[in-house]
């Protein structure tokens, strides 16, 4: 066992947890494929990817924030507000909707960056406040109701069309993840993000530009939430000021299930994606389970099962991590 792990170059406890989540994802897919017909149908796979690309995007932004030891609770509100902005701008040009939405997210991210690095308010509280503000702004802009996007400017293609047989949102998420991997693993700033998560004061003494890097990470998270909002508006044909509730918790859970510690200083882009897909898969499986007709699960049981699943995953993760650290010590 040990030599196998060595061969896989699994050095840190985090690596082990990351391997765990990927195995769990495949396990769940296998379970679904064997248990339900049509689970691996093209239709299910593509609509799954189209829908969950939004969550994958916010999870990536969240992963970077968490790697610095912070947290971003505002992503759901930001996405909702950005979807409204995108919808309002979509009649002018599809690009106006796209970039307008991203810019809206960016603005919230910048506000987060400001409150965290300049006002020095703890990320949890700072982003909790901006979450409220983002929802408020979205509702005000939208006049308390969904805003229809323009179907003429080509804006809906972003969320609804395919490219080379794959949904465009899935392409976007894929590209963003590749970029995210590059930033984290191959660019100095990625290393700086991790070092800051290891200890802000230390990082500053080592000559890192802590504030600038932190601000950039929050802006990035905001921009990705904005992008998710654009996809939301485009895919469902409306800017939705009340959407996005609980997205932040989904994203945080994805990151953690992906083996990233909330204390910062470590993290993986690939495992975050696996974590997001794993959690999303649970919804999909529950829907199929209902369709099987054996048991008609009520919505309440669904949340109990989801909570239970999260419990199992994180307990296993924690076991893996501690077993591995144990070995390290011995």
């Amino acid at each position: 066992m040990n030599s196998v792990l060595k061969a896989l170059a699994l050095k840190s406890p985090g690596d082990m947890a990351r391997l765990g989540v990927i195995l769990a994802l495949f396990g769940l897919i296998l379970f679904g494929a064997l248990r339900y017909e049509n689970f691996l149908s093209q239709y299910n796979i593509l609509s799954f990817l189209r829908y969950n690309s939004m969550f994958a995007l916010i999870a990536l932004g969240m992963a970077f924030v968490i790697m610095t030891g912070g947290i971003d609770l505002s992503v759901g509100g930001t996405a909702a507000m950005a979807s409204v902005v995108a919808a309002l701008l979509s009649p002018y040009h599809w690009a106006a909707g796209l970039f307008g939405g991203i810019a809206a997210g960016l603005a919230v991210g910048a506000l987060n960056g400001f409150t965290v690095t300049v006002m020095r308010i703890q990320p949890f509280i700072a982003t909790l406040a901006t979450m409220l503000a983002a929802y408020g702004t979205g509702l005000l802009l939208a006049g308390n109701q969904s805003v229809s996007v323009s179907y003429d400017s080509g804006f809906t293609a972003i969320g609804q069309d395919d490219f080379l047989g794959f949904p465009i949102p899935a392409w976007i998420a894929l590209l963003v993840y590749v970029a995210g991997w590059l930033v984290l693993e191959r660019l100095p700033v990625g290393r700086h993000v991790l070092a800051i998560g290891d200890g802000e004061a230390t990082a500053a003494l080592m000559g890192l530009k802590v504030r600038r890097t932190l601000a950039a990470v929050y802006v990035g998270s905001g921009a990705l939430a904005g992008l998710a909002g654009v996809i939301l508006a485009s895919q469902f044909g409306a800017g939705q000021p009340t959407e996005g509730v609980g997205w932040e918790l989904f994203a945080i859970a994805s990151v953690v299930v992906g083996g990233t510690l909330l204390t910062g200083g470590s993290g993986s882009v690939g495992a975050t994606l696996a974590g997001a897909l794993l959690l999303a898969m649970v919804f999909n499986i529950l829907n199929f389970e209902n369709g099987l007709g054996w048991i008609s699960l009520s919505a309440y049981w669904q949340s109990v099962i989801r909570g239970g699943f999260l419990l199992i995953v994180v307990v296993l993760q924690a076991r893996l991590m501690s077993r591995r650290t144990g070995e390290e010590r011995v």
């Binding site: 339900y36 049509n38 689970f39 149908s41 239709y43 299910n44 609509s47 799954f48 829908y51 939004m54 509702l139 939208a142 308390n144 109701q145 969904s146 805003v147 229809s148 179907y151 609804q160 939301l232 895919q235 469902f236 044909g237 409306a238 939705q240 000021p241 009340t242 959407e243 509730v245 919804f283 999909n284 829907n287 199929f288 209902n290 369709g291 007709g293 008609s296 699960l297 009520s298 919505a299 309440y300 669904q302």
Partner: protein, 299 residues
């Protein structure tokens, strides 16, 4: 055009529910489940937990599972269009329940079979019309809105406010959201009654908030029904009982018992009958004149 529904003994039907965090939704779900069970259909039930986006994903997973027909209780008018269109493309007929989708983007008889439901604007209008007739000199209104941004809140406000304005002589002194919840409704009512002691009418967008408001009125040392008229929408048993007790002045029913009508419509469609673009679920109206008699029938 519209996908056809083959005639079969029993069907595998999907029911995409919006949420189940209030008694009304629960009654609706139970009604659907009970009727499906009675008729022997297999019901694929999903709950979107208040998210229009998730509801679309739910419908997609029903399509992937190959259901025969989908009952959709759309959370919102616009964002559910993609779900309706996807089902149509997959050859699965859709029947909308209790809320409709944007008529400029999808049409009954073309994109979906029909819309069975209630008209939220109409509900607001009906309660307002009753008030105009029965105000007895009362005129200052506190409005407890539903969840900000939700369509029943928007529509019940619209129907009510417009009718009241047209009638003249009334003033809405405060209008705030109580989230369709009893506790929140009570807290908001407490604050508003305190700030506007002259208010003598409370219009709540649902029963839960109305009952919360009654507690607030009593706590403020006033008598509901005498000092302050309480108006509500939904018409559940507890509210109808309150009408009998004189605490709620009037309530418009918004009937959640969709099951029978929904499955009846489905079978008629399968037989090839022509279905009207809109099937109205009959809503009652309760005030002191009929509440006692109707209590047994309230949901």
């Amino acid at each position: 055009e519209l996908p056809k529904l083959a005639q079969k003994e029993t069907y595998k039907v999907g029911f995409a529910q919006t949420e189940s965090n209030n008694p009304w939704r629960i009654a609706q779900t139970n009604s659907m489940k009970a009727e499906a069970e009675k008729l022997g259909h297999q019901l694929v039930y999903t709950d979107a937990a208040g998210s229009a986006a998730k509801q679309v994903a739910d419908v997609n997973s029903m399509i992937a599972q190959g259901v025969d027909l989908i009952f959709l209780a759309p959370r919102e008018e616009k964002p559910l269009i993609p779900a309706v269109m996807a089902a149509k493309k997959a050859g699965i007929p859709v029947i909308l329940l209790d809320r409709s989708v944007d008529p400029s983007l999808a049409k009954a008889g073309e994109d979906y079979v029909t819309f069975i439901g209630s008209d939220f604007i109409e509900e607001g209008k009906r309660i307002a019309e009753w008030l105009v007739k029965n105000a007895n000199g009362k005129s200052k209104i506190i409005e407890l809105e539903g969840t900000t941004g939700s369509s029943p809140a928007n529509d019940r406000k619209k129907g009510f406010d417009e009718t009241i304005k047209a009638a003249g002589g009334f003033e809405i002194v405060a209008s705030q959201s109580g989230d369709f919840a009893r506790d929140k409704g009570r807290q908001v009512a407490e604050a508003l009654l305190q700030a506007h002691p002259d208010a003598d009418i409370v219009y709540a967008h649902n029963d839960e908030m109305a009952i919360g408001a009654i507690a607030a009125i009593e706590a403020a040392g006033k008598v509901p029904g005498k000092d302050v008229l309480v108006l509500s929408i939904d018409g559940g048993k507890e509210a109808v009982q309150a009408v009998i007790d004189g605490k709620i002045a009037a309530v418009v029913e918004c009937n959640p018992r969709f099951g029978p009508k929904a499955f009846e419509t489905m079978l008629r469609y399968a037989k090839g009958e022509k279905i009207d673009p809109m099937v109205i679920n009959e809503d009652k109206f309760y005030d002191s004149s009929n509440a006692a008699a109707e209590l047994a029938n309230a949901y």
